[in-house]
């Protein structure tokens, strides 16, 4: 009877270990313009367990540029990230992507289990106009980031900690133990003054 439960525990432990030493995850990236069907663009690799930024990267596919070049400038350029049961999408106006010189940024937002739940797709341009003087970068550049929830700010409350050498709370003192240094001088003064005789009546 015990064998199956040991086996289950072992499997669970193995799964947990596998999760803790998780390999980088690869997701496919596709893109589209306007209402056109998405076409493959490349793949995105991220490592939820790695703190290194270099662990996240975009690898372009073979037929990446076609859909973008043939598009209408007013349309939305949409990026899809798919894989592991997740499909995320985000878009920018095509003209802004062009104006940025294809300098793009993809940010995967990960939940507490490291599963992506939202995609941000932004470019480095602020408008569709390409300044005449500005030289656009020649090679497209894709940055990939991962974001998880930050630990929110909390009040730094100072907890009162009573410490004694033996770790026990100090014993409660009696009234006299606490205030003897007030009481004694008062009593001394009272005793010293009480001996004086009443002046004789004239």
């Amino acid at each position: 009877m015990q064998l199956p439960s040991i086996l289950i525990s072992a499997v669970l432990l193995a799964c947990g270990f596998a999760a803790s030493v998780a390999e980088p995850i690869e997701l496919s990236v596709s893109h589209s313009l306007g209402s056109a069907k998405p076409t493959p663009r490349g793949s995105l690799i991220y490592d939820p367990a790695s703190p290194k930024r270099s662990a996240n990267k975009y690898i372009p596919g073979a037929a990446a540029a076609g859909a973008v070049d043939s598009g209408d400038d007013d349309g939305l350029y949409r990026v899809y990230v798919e894989g592991n049961g997740v499909r995320l999408t985000a878009a920018v106006p095509l003209c802004m992507l062009t104006a940025s010189g294809y300098q793009e940024q993809m940010t995967l937002h990960l939940d507490s289990k490291g599963v992506p739940w939202h995609l941000d797709y932004l470019v480095s341009a602020t408008s569709c106009d390409i300044p005449k003087k500005k030289q656009l970068p020649r090679t497209p550049k894709t940055q990939v980031f991962t974001e998880t929830a930050l630990a929110g700010a909390r009040p730094k409350l100072e907890q009162i900690v009573v410490t004694t050498p033996d770790g026990k709370p100090p014993a409660e003192q009696t009234f006299l133990q606490k205030y003897w240094f007030y009481i004694i001088p008062v009593m001394v003064m009272f005793l010293m003054n009480s001996g004086a005789e009443e002046p004789a009546k004239k």
Partner: protein, 1018 residues
């Protein structure tokens, strides 16, 4: 050059005054009530008793807002009121033999006995296993209290509420009425059978609660238990009800007997009409035959048929019984709908006393829905005087007497879901008089300079004639103290801009405009069957044009209704040719656009339908043209509101039929388990921001991230239902998202945070300019979600450059800490900057939401000792004055916290020289409750659910209205009144000094001249 430097110096002085101002800004005792007003309300009555226990009449009410109150019939003011918790739903209020008992709860069930004269609680009994029932009933056996709720019947001791016995009926019926007759207890309920309810009777033994009999009388199908009337004749107790086709009666205790009312009383096709009594004893019986009504005491006694006919929905009957006197009133509207007719019947003599008229405009308050009669006994045979306490369809309550309405309480304000300030027009502005500001270039060119000069000269002459009178008035106002009665009939803006109208729209269909100076109603209207949810000002006040508001509501057919109203008069607005009433199919969101249509100069309203179609109001060609130009930059986000798990973003595009519709652009599905708990509202583009950055102690500047599309929101993720559950965990997540792209700029987790209880919302968000404030309840570490260890941040190679960079970066040390082991409210302040490094900005003339530049967010958190029910912020004209976060507190106060205390840059530990220079307060983890910051001072303003502020012409002053149950309006001066002279300022001394100086100068000048001449002659 000089002027500009002078202006800069003046601004610097002003800023210094603002910043150096004390953080507290309390009012003096003699100022209380001078610049503020308070409407103490009770809510729309669910239960009411108009009684005359001795000689004085009293009105007891139990309301939809869970308030129990005793009203003084003379003034309409309450003698006392008890405000129950928002989730403590009042299910029953009973007044028998001057003992007031309430039953309330939601999940729990409390029976409370109150002292009817003082309102003090005598005892409170909480039921251990409360039945899930929306109805309850209370009866009395001797001093003991009988309680029925659902299928449970209990007898509670009258002196302390401890249970004597409890029985549970297994008949499947829900019981909601108790009748005591000849020593037996009858409990009346309804058993649901498909769509109908069957009357069910339970007879109990009063001593031990033993069920003696349980039966369903024949033909007992009713719509609800409210349709069952209890009456007594000839020593027998009867139940009357309207069946599908016939009315029936049943003698209690005789299970197999049901008679047709037609046969008993000899009136064909008779129906039972409800009669409102002064207490819960047996009801009077009024039978309706078509539109004719007959009162009868029993089948064999005399009856009286009222002469006037009226629709059953418009006729209200009430009865009064006291000390042998017995009267019946029959209230119905007159054909003109401008008054009501009241027949007063002496039921002992079966004689009509008289028919009275009372002025009553149904357009303002709707029809009377409930009426309660009180008759003062007359001596020496005169006509008795009567009063009727009436509840009208709009939710207001009135006391009527022959020929007049004694008082009205506008209780519909307790159900107001929206309010909007309306600026009053200036008496005259030269440029507006001549429409110069709105002239088209070609129009300006067509007017010759001479003609323009003559126009202006004419206006000046007219104004000069009125000037002496104005001057006298101004001097008078300087010398005499401010008027205590602030009632003015003219609707013009005052010098300081504190006089406005505030329009409330309630879900009862009532719209009320109040004067912000006096709190008095300027106009009111009632729209039958419309539940209002939103108000938008589409045209501000101009000299020649009235301000226009649009009321958004839902009618009985679930359609969205838009009503255009002249905000000064409350009349329909159709001057621009558009329809004042527009009806649309079900609409998800109504948005005011920053675009005007040329014809009426009103802003456009866009309505997003369920099918994502975009409708535009007004539906004119000019409006369509204006929208066509605006459409490319129109981005919308839609959400189902609190409790939903996603937000969707859209752009607009023209559909196949040349009409605009929404096209999905982004979707934000919160991670598993998270539900939307609170939404902020982005500051609109162009809102007043005094400074683009924060000047630091070392004179460097941190630039504010002023994104008009930034939305702050909070979600809650919980497991378990109640905080007392063993598996209960909770966490609050703060989001900053861009509503154009759906980009998540910031997400933080406050583990252990959440709502106090599922029925008590405690998560609130307010945002303004470049900051947001969030509040939530901390359940402590034991309610924290299990954490996954986050990866350590990437290690940087420490070079000289990075060290320098670190030094320069603004202190944004990790404010996150372990979950405080202290249950209570926590307030988080967030501020967003363009960069973490001072003097660094986004290098662009334009801002774009699509740009890969994220804000730098700083956050700090504080614990606050009071529970919060609403959150808001002050607003000023130029945004120079320090903001104040306004909180509605659960204990009935409107409270202000200066934004300087909610500054996430407050240094932890001893402040550095630069931080001292910046005048930052050192960080303290708690925000103490400062009684001086209670805006509502000693007034009790319970259940604040909304806070709305407006700017005045004084930069220091923000007008604030808080409402929920009561309405409180006051002024807030977070940086003190730096631009207003104090009330005690001695104007006469100033004038006298100036006059003395002028005289002195003249005199010394003369002396000097004389001396000069003398010197020349020497």
């Amino acid at each position: 050059m000089f002027a500009s430097s002078l202006r800069a110096a003046a601004l610097a002085v002003l800023l210094a005054v603002v910043l150096c101002g004390s953080v507290s800004a309390a009012i003096h005792a003699d100022q209380a009530g001078t610049y503020d007003w308070h409407k103490a309300l009770v809510g729309i009555p669910k239960f009411a008793f108009f009684t005359r226990p001795v000689r004085k009449a009293q009105i007891y009410v139990g309301t939809q807002k869970n308030v129990i109150a005793l009203l003084n019939p003379k003034t309409g003011d309450y003698t006392w009121r008890q405000v129950l918790e928002p989730a403590d739903d009042l299910k029953m209020l009973s007044l028998q033999d001057q003992v007031l008992v309430s039953v309330s709860g939601n999940g729990s069930l409390h029976t409370r006995q109150w002292d009817a004269q003082t309102g003090l609680l005598i005892w409170d009994h909480e039921h251990v296993n409360p039945p899930a029932s929306t109805s309850a009933a209370v009866g009395r056996v001797g001093d003991d209290v009988l309680l029925v709720a659902g299928d449970s019947i209990s007898r509670l001791k009258g002196d302390d509420g401890t249970p004597v016995w409890t029985v549970t009926a297994d008949s499947g019926a829900t019981y909601g009425r108790i009748i005591l007759h000849n020593g037996a207890i009858y409990v009346i309920g309804a058993k649901q059978i498909s769509n109908l309810h069957e009357v069910s009777v339970l007879q109990l033994d009063a001593k031990d609660g033993r069920i003696v009999a349980e039966y369903q009388p024949p033909n007992g199908n009713v719509k609800s238990l409210d349709d069952v009337v209890f009456a007594e004749h000839g020593g027998k107790a009867y139940l009357y009800w309207n069946g599908a086709e016939r009315a029936y009666r049943h003698a209690l205790g005789q299970s197999a007997e049901t008679e047709e009312v037609d046969d008993v009383f000899g009136i064909k096709e008779s129906r039972i009409q409800n009669v409102y009594g002064s207490d819960e004893s047996a009801s009077d019986l009024v039978l309706r035959n078509g539109k004719r009504y007959t009162f009868m005491r029993s089948s064999d006694s005399a009856k009286y048929t009222f002469e006037d006919e009226a629709e059953p929905t418009e006729s209200v009957f009430s009865s009064f019984k006291s000390e042998g006197a017995h009267y019946i009133s029959y209230v119905r509207p007159s054909p003109s709908k401008k008054e009501i007719k009241i027949d007063l019947l002496d039921a002992t003599e079966m004689k009509l006393v008289d028919t009275f008229s009372v002025p009553f405009d149904e357009q303002i308050s709707g029809a009377i829905q409930k009426a309660f009669l009180d008759v003062a006994p007359s001596k020496d045979g005169k006509v008795p005087s009567f009063r009727i306490f009436a509840v009208t369809a709009d939710g207001s309550i009135k006391l009527l007497k022959a020929g007049e309405v004694l008082w009205t309480r506008e209780e519909s304000l307790t159900e107001a879901l929206a309010a909007e300030y309306v600026d009053l027009p200036e008496r005259s502005l030269l440029s507006q008089d001549h429409d110069e500001l709105d002239e088209q270039p070609q129009e300006s060119a067509s007017i010759s300079p001479i003609e323009r000069f003559l126009r202006r000269a004419r206006t000046h002459v007219v104004k000069a004639a009125a000037y002496p009178q104005q001057l006298t008035k101004s001097i008078k106002s300087l010398i005499t103290p401010p008027e205590s009665t602030r009632v003015r009939n003219d609707l013009y803006a005052d010098f300081f801009g504190v006089r406005k109208l505030v329009v409330f729209a309630s879900k009862t269909g009532k719209v009320v405009a109040l004067d912000t100076e006096s709190g008095q109603s300027v106009w009111e209207r009632y729209f039958d069957g419309i539940q209002f949810r939103q108000i938008e000002t589409v045209r501000s006040a101009l000299v020649k044009y009235p301000p226009v508001i649009v009321l958004v509501g839902q009618n009985r057919q679930a359609q969205t209704v838009l009503l255009r109203i002249n905000a000064l008069t409350g009349e329909d607005f159709n001057e621009d040719g558009s329809s004042p009433r527009e009806v649309f199919p079900a609409i998800r969101k109504v948005i005011k656009l920053p675009v005007e249509e040329a014809a009426g100069r009103t802003q456009l309203i866009s309505l997003i339908g369920d099918n994502l179609k975009v409708h535009i109001s007004p539906s004119s060609a000019a409006a369509s043209d204006a929208f066509e130009r605006f459409a490319p930059q129109y981005h919308v986000y839609l959400t189902e509101g609190v409790g939903s798990s996603q937000i969707d973003g859209y752009t607009t595009e023209k559909g196949t039929n040349n009409k605009y519709e929404l096209k999905p652009s982004w979707k934000l599905e919160f991670p598993e388990g998270e539900k939307l708990a609170a939404l902020g509202s982005p500051s609109p583009a162009g809102s007043a921001v005094a400074s683009l950055g924060r000047v630091l102690g070392d004179r460097s500047v941190l630039y504010k991230y002023l994104n008009p599309n930034m939305l702050a929101l909070a979600t809650v993720k919980t497991t378990g239902s109640f905080p007392t559950d063993s598996d209960f965990t909770s966490a609050v997540y703060t989001y900053l998202i861009d509503t154009v792209t759906g980009t998540v700029h910031y997400r933080s987790e406050h583990n252990g945070g959440g709502n106090i209880a599922p029925t008590v919302p405690s998560v609130f968000v307010v945002q303004k300019d470049n900051w947001a404030v969030l509040s939530y309840w901390n359940h402590g570490p034991e309610a924290a979600l299990p954490q996954v260890e986050p990866p350590a941040p990437e290690e940087e190679v420490v070079t000289k450059k990075t060290v320098r960079k670190r030094k320069k970066k603004v202190s944004t040390e990790d404010n996150s800490a372990t979950i405080p082991d202290a249950k209570g409210i926590e307030i988080v302040a967030l501020e967003f900057f363009e960069s973490s490094t001072p003097d660094q900005r986004v290098e662009s003339d334009t801002f774009s939401s699509f740009q890969a530049k994220r804000p730098h967010v700083i956050a700090q958190s504080y614990s606050f000792p009071k529970r919060i029910s609403a959150i808001g912020t002050t607003t000023t004209g130029a945004g120079i004055t320090t903001k104040e976060v306004l909180l509605g507190l659960e204990d009935g106060h409107l409270y202000g916290i200066s934004k300087r205390l909610l500054d996430p840059r407050r240094p932890v530990g001893a402040p550095t020289k630069d931080e001292k220079e910046e005048m930052l307060f050192p960080y303290r983890p708690t925000l103490d409750f400062n009684p001086k910051e209670v805006a509502s001072y000693n007034l009790h303003v319970p259940k604040i659910s909304h806070i709305l502020s407006a700017a005045t012409k004084m930069e220091s002053t923000s007008l604030t209205i808080a409402w929920g149950l009561d309405v409180f309006c006051g002024r807030r001066n977070p940086s003190k009144t730096f631009d207003v002279l104090s009330e005690s300022f001695n104007y006469l001394a100033l004038l006298a000094t100036i006059a003395a100086c002028v005289l002195g100068i003249g005199f010394s000048k003369r002396l000097a001249e004389r001396k000069k001449i003398k010197d020349l002659w020497r």
